[in-house]
Point group: C3
Chain length 111, copies 3
């Protein structure tokens, strides 16, 4: 959590991607930790990831990841498995450019 | 926010639709303002809107809108663009009648 | 709510399914009651249920149900109608085995 805050506030990262810690075991607390550092949730990203996992034949409901903004830094939780990350990234990439533009107040894409 | 409360509590509106303020810039705080005036969230409406945006070739993950109930008033955030509002409304309309019946405790439709 | 807590903490149930109380009338407060007893939400389950209701020609946006973990007990809200429960269960079953394994820290399935 301290690492997320440092990357967002000190290094002013535009985008932070995390992997893993998103399933159901007692140690899977990435979404809760992420929620503590973001100001505003962006539920469409985890939703899109679950759609892509489902379409790719992977378990989708188990993915508890979230996404949100800390100021102008976008933080997105990804699944832990390489296959899950791959499916998720393919689904996210078409929307990431629009997201990063929107964060800067430049709305060249239509929602 | 005061306007939402007045429409819901004083004018007892059955349905309030807002547009815009739902993306990622620092000024996009409609979902947070809406969450402050509702008692119970209705996550299926924003989910359905994102499905319709995606199906319509628009950016879907950027739409952060929410929906919820303040007493018996249903408040739904819509996107800001005319195309987004159009796609969203087409998706919502088939469920709106059932929603307004359900709010009154008249469950003639099946969930 | 006391019943949920007793089943989870005293009887150490692995899985609790509730039905009904998930729509929009003033008495529909199952999601809010559930949220009070869970530690961590699992939004993928209600999302999957809404996808299945939509695919089955039922109202989907009206389903406000949630799901989450209380320790190692998984609690999932189901719709109130027999048709809704049937559609929801068919969609959930393929992911339930993976979910129950994941809760025990045994990740044999890929998200």
């Amino acid at each position: 959590m301290a690492a997320l805050i440092e990357m967002a506030d000190y290094h002013q990262a535009h985008l932070i991607l995390t992997t893993g810690g998103t399933k159901l075991s007692l140690r899977d607390i990435t979404p809760e930790a992420t929620r503590q550092v973001i100001d505003r949730e962006v539920p469409g990203f985890p939703e899109l990831i679950r759609v892509s996992l489902r379409a790719g034949g992977l378990m989708s409901a188990l993915f508890r990841g979230t996404a949100g903004l800390r100021g102008q830094t976008l933080i997105i939780n990804l699944p832990g498995s390489p296959q899950g990350v791959s499916k998720a990234m393919l689904a996210l990439i078409p929307e990431l450019e629009a997201a990063l533009f929107s964060i800067q107040g430049r709305d060249t894409f239509t929602e």
